[in-house]
Amino acid sequence: MQPYGIQSMLKDGYRHLSGLDEAVIKNIEACKELSTITRTSLGPNGMNKMVINHLDKLFVTNDAGTIVNELEIQHPAAKILVLAAKAQQEEIGDGANLTISFAGELLQNAGALIRAGLHPSDIITGYNKAITKTVEILEQLVESGSETMDVRNKDEVVFRMRAAVASKQFGQEEIICSLVADACIQVCPKNPTNFNVDNVRVAKLLGGGLHNSCIVRGMVLKSDAVGSIKRMEKAKVAVFAGGVDTNATETKGTVLIHSAEQLENYAKTEEAKVEELIKAVAESGAKVIVSGGSVGEMALHFCERYKIMVLKISSKFELRRFCRTAGAVAHLKLSRPSPDDLGYVDSIAVEEIGGVTVTIARNEQGGNSISAVVLRGSTDSILDDLERAVDDGVNTYMAMCRDSRIVPGAAATEIELAQRLKEYANAETGLHSHAILKYAESFQFVPQTLADNAGLDAMEIIASLYTGHGSGNTKLGIDLEEGACKDVSETKVWDLFATKLFALKYASDAACTVLRVDQIIMAKQAGGPRRDLAAAAGAGAEED
């Protein structure tokens, strides 16, 4: 007799989970697990994680985006959270941890409600109402006067960037913030909303310390010059995207030589041709040639002769950036460039920093559309982590260019939201008011985690925060250094409104999606031998 039920209808290896217990609760558990991993990394005192990914690359970081990326989450529900974090990372570039942890907390509380007998659809209704209300409250909490800002004022930029950077590199935020702010302000276009994150480059050089880090107005290329000329001041630059060599035809050509004389002459005409081209470039005033492709031996020889410095940048994007720095227009083929197409750099020089040969192109005035942050650090993983902090800073800058509104940080906003949502929940009737209440309670995890991670007594802190907020001080936050509650205007911890808004919205979106699922149908794992099996087999072979 054919077995009954869906399992019999599916292919081998398919798994089918359904119902509250099997699907919903299990999903919640999985998401909880994930959020416990990332939670301890929240905030300035967050712990670092050591993650070794499938390529055996080591990551030491407290950046949630990186952690979840490298963890290769398999569980489908947990994956929804990861996707939410990724969306946050792409949209704002910061706040991924808040997204995952908050979604995890929401789901954990939803689990409690389900066990108490509430139907998931009631919880979803409640959560949806809560997020709408949260957005409303959040808008009220915006610090007045922060709507407009001068994105070129370093103090104002640092002011807004501090909290974001501090949560990644606590204690070093002052140095990093000032570096990032300088770099960003420099490349900020006339219309700040067009700020492109890509214009702030990061060059990581091993050795030295963070204090040796600096900013270069221009570009830092991790390569050497091609020829023997290594330095050029106030030079005009010609950029050739296609390479500096003799022109080649699309059709295959063969040199036809009838006599020895011709053989000799052929080489000569070839030489003459290249010389003509290089001479044309040199006559146009260019002193530096940047090539996007190969540089021919013969061409190089003539370049040296005409005292032209030759650089090779093989990445197309890097070449485009160089064009922007120098204000040059790239030519496809080696030909005489028109004066308008030539770029200009103040100096271009090959230098050695910490044993690495780098070419630094500086452009103090004019252009100014690219700046590079040279980071120094003792190990690769420290450098990687510093880079992530800088990235967060740059992304925050971009976000503030679009929306400069800020809200109090250091858990002050969360407590205020929790408090006001609770009032809202009490005014609501129906089963979903429980869900709103739980949503409000979920905010509590932020101060709790911050306090926990800093080794403070969470209960005491939360209690005093609530009292403070109850008496009308909406800006009361945690001062982690002193372990007490303080007004954020004093501690200067401010978060961007946009970061918070998107993180909370993505988190509740993800949480609701997980709650809406009541059946999971999983296909058999596809493809290749599994890694752990292969590794085990390899280990076995060694033993033999």
Partner: protein, 535 residues
């Protein structure tokens, strides 16, 4: 057994065993899809072989992705997929209707009835129901100006069964407007003229209708403008790159000059073509600050791009073929296949062309076009599964609007039709039928109730209560449907719940056919393989 006719490995199920197998399979499939039905249905999560996630409420998607192996279930699934092909919706209803027919039949068969008799009854009931449907439907006049309200109601009914309410309501307007946009009098509606483009960006509620076109690629030259207003648009299918000759050609040269000459000669024909376009640009843009945009189906090589960029022309290469068609409809002008006889008349027009960059992806928006006959639904969502979910829903929504315009009628939804049809079958038709086929009619009538029943079940209501209150209202002569919020009867007309006529028609047509076929199976033979999974 004296002589074995079959391969010893073959498995044979006969008589009752075969029948029970098919019935069980039908019921099993019904169980899976049941929870999908209606606005209160739940979402299924499908996890693919590579760990990719898909969330769906759409029966069709689910059946496609599930990879069903049971032979009976496959038959039902195919019917459901056919339903989707024809009417674009109603897959879940088809599956559960067939399942319910089988369930009702099982009861009769257990009492000793022959399947053949049931099948006869089904046939009579089917014909009567189709007739009833024709009387029951609400005609809608679709003149030059279709009634937007009714279209919206139909679209909303469909979309709400696929997505959550807030988003569904927002999509309703988008879907209706887009169909009306591409609708041309005297011609059938070609839904392909609505481009569905997605961007992984922001939230699902940021989905919008673009009157114009969105292309998922950008210009490939760094110096081209990112934003241009008042643009002439040249839609063309001309290769602007050097093409190697078919034959294996080579050439001999003996000095560098000759080679240089060859290099120029190679470029010449392409450059000439580019020059013709530039000439046209200069002709139409002379003396005003209009812009010129080329959208080419074939390639444009870097030297040509460079030439165009220097003239301030925006050039897009390798556009999709279907977009070329839509582009002409949206912007006007015509698609040209040769640059030899270019005239300003063949150019289209768009008020705004701009590029939007999202990480690595580039999108080009062609907006503010005159009298668009093509448009784009731009779906946004934070992640891929949200986008896929909206995409499926939009497709169904478009189909439902198209069906309404073509059917020129709608059917009251929320289970109203099913209850009414059942009362009609039991009270009127059954009496006119002679003999045991009556039982078949009765089984059919009861099976119809599965739709309101499931709706109620998914909403967490008491099924029995609901059915009783609905039928009693119908006995009083009121046509009512189910209010899934409180389980009370409502008038679907007032609530604005309408289903497509063609969906219902197809459902009633195909359901009994497949159920009859399955009932008449009395032997299942599978050669050489065990039908059960090795456990």
């Amino acid at each position: 057994m004296s002589v074995r006719v079959l391969n010893p490995n073959a498995e044979v199920l006969n008589k009752t065993a075969a029948l029970h197998m098919t019935i069980n399979a039908a019921k099993g499939l019904q169980d899976v899809l049941k929870s999908n039905l209606g606005p209160k249905g739940t979402i299924k999560m499908l996890v693919g072989g590579s760990g990719d996630i898909k969330l769906t409420k759409d029966g069709n998607t689910l059946l496609k992705e599930m990879q069903i192996q049971n032979p009976t279930a496959i038959m039902i699934a195919r019917t459901a997929v056919a339903q989707d092909d024809i009417s674009g919706d109603g897959t879940t209803s088809t599956v559960i209707f067939i399942g319910e027919l089988m369930k009702q039949s099982e009861r009769c068969i257990d009492e000793g009835m022959h399947p053949r008799v049931l099948v006869d009854g089904f046939e009579i009931a089917k014909r009567a129901t189709l007739q009833f449907l024709d009387n029951f439907k609400t005609p809608v006049v679709m003149g030059d100006e279709p009634d937007k309200e009714i279209l919206k109601m139909v679209a909303r009914t469909t979309l709400r069964t696929k997505l959550y309410e807030g988003l569904a309501d927002q999509l309703t307007d988008i879907v209706v407007n887009s169909v009306l946009c591409i609708r041309k009098p005297e011609e059938g509606i070609d839904l392909f003229m609505v481009e569905i483009m997605h961007m992984r960006h922001k939230f699902d509620v940021d989905t919008r209708l673009v009157e114009g076109l969105v292309l998922d690629h950008g210009s490939r030259h760094p110096d081209m403008k990112r934003r241009a207003e008042n643009c002439h648009i040249l839609t063309c299918n001309v290769s602007l790159e050097y093409e190697k000759s078919e034959i294996n050609a080579g050439f001999f040269y003996s000095n560098a000059e000759q080679r240089e000459a060859m290099v120029t000669a190679e470029r010449k024909s392409v450059d000439e073509r580019v020059q013709k376009i530039i000439d046209l640009k200069n002709k139409v843009c002379a003396g005003n600050d209009n812009n010129f945009v080329i959208i080419n189906q074939k390639g444009i090589d870097p030297p040509s791009l460079d030439l165009l960029a220097r003239e301030g022309i925006i050039a897009l290469r390798r556009a999709k073929r279907r977009n070329m068609e839509r582009l002409v409809l949206a912007c006007g002008g015509e698609a040209v296949n040769s640059v030899d006889e270019l005239t300003p008349e063949s150019l289209g027009w768009a008020g705004l062309v701009y590029e939007h960059v999202l990480g690595e992806e580039k999108y080009t928006f062609v907006e503010q076009v005159k009298n668009p006959n093509s448009c784009t639904i731009l779906i946004k969502g934070p992640n891929d599964h949200t986008i896929a979910q909206i995409k499926d829903a939009v497709r169904d929504g478009l189909r439902s609007v198209k069906n309404t315009i073509e059917d020129e009628c709608v059917v009251l939804g929320a289970g109203a039709f099913e209850v009414a049809a059942r009362q009609h079958l039991l009270n009127e038709v059954k009496k006119t039928v002679q003999g045991r086929a009556q039982l078949g009619v009765e089984a059919f009538a009861n099976a119809l109730l599965v739709v309101p029943k499931t709706l109620a079940e998914n909403a967490g209501l008491d099924t029995q209560d609901v059915i009783i209150s609905l039928t009693s209202e119908h006995d009083k002569g009121n046509v009512v449907g189910l209010n899934i919020e409180d389980g009370e009867p409502i008038d679907p007309q007032l609530a604005g719940i309408f289903d497509n006529y063609s969906v219902k028609r197809q459902l009633i047509n195909s359901g009994p056919v497949i159920a009859s076929q399955l009932l008449l199976v009395d032997e299942v033979i599978r050669a050489g393989r065990n039908m059960r999974k090795p456990t």
